[in-house]
């Protein structure tokens, strides 16, 4: 159904893997759907795996911020991992890279939930 997002579990952590273009009118909405779905299913520790994202635009960035806020409101933590350099650059220039909890790899992202 959702060709831009798939979900897997690591213990009580839910990993949402994004793929392709997280851009206006398609990938941005699919990302929101996927993250809202896991939140509604009760996920409280969420890692968004960005390794497969080729492009993100301001709509995708906006949805990412929205998902982060929704997660916080629901008492969940949403973190990001495996950001390709270009995606990281896009978040950096709008000073969002410090808002999100960003990890270079899965081990560090998972470990961060233990502490």
């Amino acid at each position: 159904m959702n060709k831009n997002a798939s979900v897997r579990k690591i213990g009580d952590i839910t990993v949402v893997e994004l793929k392709g273009k997280i851009t206006i009118g398609a990938g941005d909405l699919q990302m929101r759907e996927a993250i809202h779905a896991v939140l509604n299913e009760g996920a409280r520790k969420i890692i968004v795996d960005m390794s497969g994202v080729s492009t993100i635009d301001s709509s995708g960035v906006g949805e990412l911020v929205g998902c982060f806020t929704t997660s916080t409101h629901k008492g969940a933590k949403m973190k990001l991992m495996n950001l390709p350099a270009k995606i990281s650059d896009v978040l950096t220039v709008t000073q969002l890279i410090t808002v999100f909890d960003v990890f270079p790899n899965e081990a560090e992202a998972v470990a961060s939930f233990a502490s």
């Binding site: 851009t23 009118g25 301001s58 960035v61 906006g62 911020v65 220039v93 808002v99």
Partner: protein
Amino acid sequence: MTATSPGPIVLWLASRYENIELVQAALAHVCRQREIDGEMEHWIGMALREAVANAVKHGNRLDPDKRVLVKFDGVGNDLTIVIGDEGGGFDPERVSDPLAPENQMKTSGRGIFYIRTFMDDVSFSRGESGGTVLTMHKDLSKRGNAKGENE
């Protein structure tokens, strides 16, 4: 026209987000013609996607009977891209700063900022029919500094 300009390329498109993919394909073609590398193409593409998305969404308000114009032009080290819509126009001075603390967690308002960040010169004007005409330039001599940072 000089030897380094392959001549203008103009597209008129219905106001649909999916047509952004065609604009991206046209940019890829222009980048091949102008020998623009993939890194720079990526950042120009980001600005272009934002500009076309704004024309479709805010300008033409997704009315499929309204058109978006995209023109690639410029000679030598100047790549000029013009994006026009048939909307009501807006005042770019009144767009809020997405870096302001109170805007940081907003879900929108970053598009024009990205355009200004990734292009070298950006200006907005009114078209004959009142719509927005966004003209953006990329200095192709600044390779390796594709994000448009100042140092």
